[in-house]
Amino acid sequence: MRRQRATGRWATVDRSLFARLIKYALLAVALLAALAPVYWMLTISLKTEVEQFAVPPRWFSFAPVLTHYRDAFVARSFGQYLLTSAFVAVVSTVCAMLPGTLAAYALARFRLPRKLDTRLALWILSTRMFPPIVTAVPLFLLMRDVRLLNTRAALVIVYTAFNLPFVVWMMRGFFQEIPRDLEEAALVDGDSRLGALRRVILPLVAPGLAATAVFCLIISWNEFLFALVLTQTDAAMTLPVGIAGRVTQYEIKWGVMSAAGVVAMLPILVFALAVQRYLVRGLSLGAVKG
C-alpha cells in the first residue's frame, strides 16, 4: 500500500517534470520565432553585400561593418527623415496631451445632463475607430487645397487628431482611478477645481500621463499611411516613408534599408520597455486594465 503510494507520487513528479520540459520547449520555440527575424535584419545591416547573399545564411559568423549605417544616415537623407519623424512625433504628442487630458478630466469627473458625458466619450472613441484610409483620402484633398502637402505641419495636425481620442480614453481611465475624496478635500480647503486638478490630481496621475505620452510617441513614430499620403519630398518625409520608398524601388539596397530599419526600431523598443506595465491597457485603448 505504502509502496504503491510512493510510486504514485513519483509518477506525478515525473509527469510534471515532463510537462515542464515540454512547456519550456514550446516557449523556446515561440521566443525564437519572435526574435530571430528581427535579429536577421540586424545581421543584414552589419554584413557586407557578399555576406548578405551567402548560402547557407550566416547567423553568427560574419565580420560586422558599419558602412550601411554611414550610407543611410550620412550619404543619403535618412538622417533628415529621422529628424522629421522625431519632430512630428514630439510636437503632435504635446498637442494631443494638453486638450486631451483636460477633456479626459471633465469626462471622468462631471456628470452632464442627458448622459452627455458618456455619449461624448463614446463619440470621441468612435472617431478613433475609422479605418485610417477612410480619412486619408479626404485629408489629402483638404491638405492639397490649403497647400499643406509635403509639410511637417500637415503631419503634426493629422497625428494630433489621431492621438486625441487615445489620450482622452487613457487619461479618463487614470482619472477614474483617483479617489474623488482627495480632490473634494482640496475643494473644501478652498482650492478651485482647476487648482485641485493641478495640485492634487495631476501629481497622482503623473505615471499615467507619462505612459500615455510615450504611447502617443510610439503611435506617431510608427504611423505610415498618413505620412505616405501627405509627404513625398525629402524635406517632409518621415523615416517609415523613406524606408518604404527604398524598399519598393527596382534595385534594393538591403544593407541600407536594414540599417534604417534598425534605427527606426530602437527608440520604439526603449519606449515599449518604459511603458511595459501599461502595455495591455494602452494597446486596448484602456479597455483592459492589465
Binding site: F110, L204, M265, Q276, L283
Partner: protein, 308 residues
Amino acid sequence: MGKGLKAKKWTAVFPPVYPFTRLPISPLPYLLVAPTVAVLVALSVYPLIYSVRVSLQTGTGARAVWTLSNFTRLASDRFFQDALAHTLVYAAVALTFEFLLGLSLALLLNERMRGRGLFRAALLVPMMLPPVVVGVVWRLMLNPNFGAINGTLKSFGFDTETLTWTASPTLALASVIAVDIWQWTPFVFLVLLAGLQAIPQEPYEAALIDGSSAWQTFLHVTLPLLRPAILIALLLRTMDLLRVFDQIFILTEGGPGFATETISLYIYRAAFRFSDFGYAAAMSFVLLLLTNIISLFYIRLLNRQENA
C-alpha cells in the same frame, strides 16, 4: 493599476454643478471638452462629410455633377470584389491563428515560472515594431534567393525552387497572413494573459473540490470567465485586420498581380495612382460600413455579457 490606489467604481451621480459652490450649471466641463471636440470635428467629422461629397460627385468645380455612379460601379468591379475577398480571408485566417496561438501562450504562461517577465518582454518585440520595419524584416526573411528561410531550407537539402513566398501568386496571400500572425499573436497573448490573471482563485478551488478534470475546468471555468478579455482582443484585432495596409504595402504592394490587394490597398491605388478620388471615397464607405457592422456585433456580445 496604481500601487496604493485601487480602482473604485463610481456609482454615485456627481451633480452637474461645482459641488461646493451654488452655481446652477457650471460651464467648466464644457470648456474643458471644447478644444478636443473642435479638433475632432475639424479633422475627423468634416473630412468624412467632405468625403461623402467627393464620392457623390463627378467632375470638379462648376462642372460637378451629383451622381451615384461611384457606388454602382462597385457592383461590377472585379478588382473590388477580389480585394474584398482578400480582406475577409486575411482577417478570418489571421484572427483564427492569432487567437489560438495567443490563447495557448497565455495559458502556458499563466503560472509563476522562472523567466516569465523576460519571456513576456521578448514577445512584445514584434508587435511594437513599426509596421514598415516588419515589412523590411520579412522581405529579408522571405526573399527567395538569399532570405533566411529559403537559405536555411536549402542548407538542409530542400528544394526551394518553387518557394518564392511573396512573389508567388499562390503563396503570397498566405505569406502576408503569416507575417500578420507573427506580429500580432503577442497582442492577443498579452490581453488574454491579463484576463487570465484577473480571474479569482475561488472558482478553481470549487472545480478542484468537485473533481472536474483539467479540460472540464478550462471549458466551464476559464473560458466563460475569460470571455470579456477574449471579446475585446478579437474586436480590436478584427478592426485592425480589416484595415490592414502597411505591411502588405511594403511586402508586396498588393502583388504579384493583385493577389494580396486588400480593400485599403485598392482604395490607395484608386486615389493615389489613378487620382480617382470619388471612387476611392465610395469604397472607403463600404470598408467603414463593414468595420462598423462587425464591431457592433462584438459590442452586442460584450453588452449581453455585462447584462447577464
